[in-house]
Amino acid sequence: MLQSNVKSKTPPALDLLRLPLTGTFLKQRHARTLLQIPLFVISVAMVFHGLFGPQLAPRNLATTLTWVHFRGALVFVLLFAGNFFCLTCPFMLVRNLARKFVRPVRNWPRRLRNKWFSIGLFVSMLFVYEWFDLWASPWWTAWLIVAYFAGAVLIDSIFKHATFCKFVCPIGQFNFVASTASPLEVTVRDTEVCTRCTTKDCIRGVREPAAPLVIIQRGCELALFQPRKTGNVDCTFCLDCVQACPHDNVGIIGRVPAAELMNDPMRSGIGYFSRRKDLAALALVFTFGALLNAFGMVSPVYAFENWLANLFGVKSEFPLLAFIFGLFLICEPLLLIGVAAWVTRIWGGSKRPLVPLALRYAYSLVPVGFGIWLAHFGFHLLTGFYTLIPVTQAAFADLGWAILGQPRWSLPGLAPNAVQVIEFGFISLGLIGSVLVSYGIAMNEKVERPSRVFIPCATLSLMVAAAAFWLMSQPMEMRAVILGSG
């Protein structure tokens, strides 16, 4: 069986930190800051343009970069590399600057040390996106970016460690789940080196020899102890552990994508997947949220909403959206994963209680969910990639500084028909991943007939993929107003 955390003396096939240019750069002490600064400058430009620029979404940097380029680039980087957005996160640049002036003294409340709060924020993000038509509003998009900056600074000025990243940030949670299907992982090169290590700087941080309470290089702020860290969940690729390790024993190492979902070892900072209801719920919201978010962009959603409006005699969008979100993000996932786990239990003759079994198999849906996000965000990026050029040209021209020339609005991206093939490819890839993960879980559960036991959850993945295929083949209908507007 594939193991995601093989750490031996054999040099890994790929270690990004051992590559000539990339490795040399990323191991620099200020590499992260250097990567964050350009994104911070772009963020400031987006906020400025969103608040004071043209309020036409396709002509504004805030909406174009956020909803077309950032989301698309994010999922592609997760697919081909890992959680490098968190590495380059501009919110953390400002937060780190703020921490030079404010020392947090409080710990995040124990009751909130889980993913429930961030799941709520993630769902709220999806809800607000539909309710306020964020994609069509530069002003609201700019305020959303400001809210992220403010949230990161406020939370991490009050609470110690990386509270915002681990327990609050909705983008971070998305990245943590999606990066389980990434091909790179920050992990130790040789566990024996860790066994001999006495200082544990990767978690404690490097201390001033003369003053042990003074930290000169912080260790992992997300409580991931490298020798026992498995997989990418909760890892922001901040590389603090790389900087802190006195033995140069931490790398960014190649691995089999999604293989970490098959195993259920005790994970540092996380525990067992099968005991984390919050993490399993995050995986389900990630997967079914992908379907719901794509559903909001196609024609049938408007017919469905109008039908619901007539059924309930409702004229307001809020209760309708709340009903749809409850149906698709709570009722449907719980029902489907419950039935799949129940059938799995019967077919496998397992004595294991239903809930842990459902929790265990919930993670198998992550690859297909990631495939749907890729298909959706990839569509916008690939069809609208070049719109960045005229929007930037126009932004400079609006400032009376047309150094980039007149906007070339007619620059085309890839044709939607061509992109549809790529979309189907991503969903198919995700489906294959989910089926393999289901089988891997069944194998690791040591049931008698894994080839039979994995079928219910594989069928669930197939149903999710079929829904995604149907959605992606529907006519796109990007509307900002519903309920009889047409």
């Binding site: 396709p58 990026l381 006519p475």
Partner: protein, 80 residues
């Protein structure tokens, strides 16, 4: 097109630019032809269902420029 006094405006050059409300979609451009004094017509092929807005860029005969925006909500998919 009329001026402030209601007099028809002939000889204007009018270009139309149609955009979707979602960013990232390539805009559609078209020129408007004057079919009678002050009356201009254009065919714009809206390539996707959804919400569109149209920017009207006009250059008047005396060189002055004029711009207006109007919305076309809820364009239905082709064939509906």
């Amino acid at each position: 097109m009329t001026d402030a006094s209601g007099k028809q405006l002939s000889g204007a050059k009018i270009k139309l630019e149609a955009n979707m409300s979602h960013p990232g979609m390539v805009p559609v451009f078209a020129d408007a032809m004057e079919i009678s004094p002050g009356c201009y017509q254009s065919n714009v092929e809206l390539s996707m269902a959804g919400d569109w807005y149209v920017l009207v860029h006009a250059t008047l005969p005396d060189g002055r420029k004029w711009e207006r925006e109007f919305d076309i909500k809820g364009v239905a998919p082709a064939g509906q």
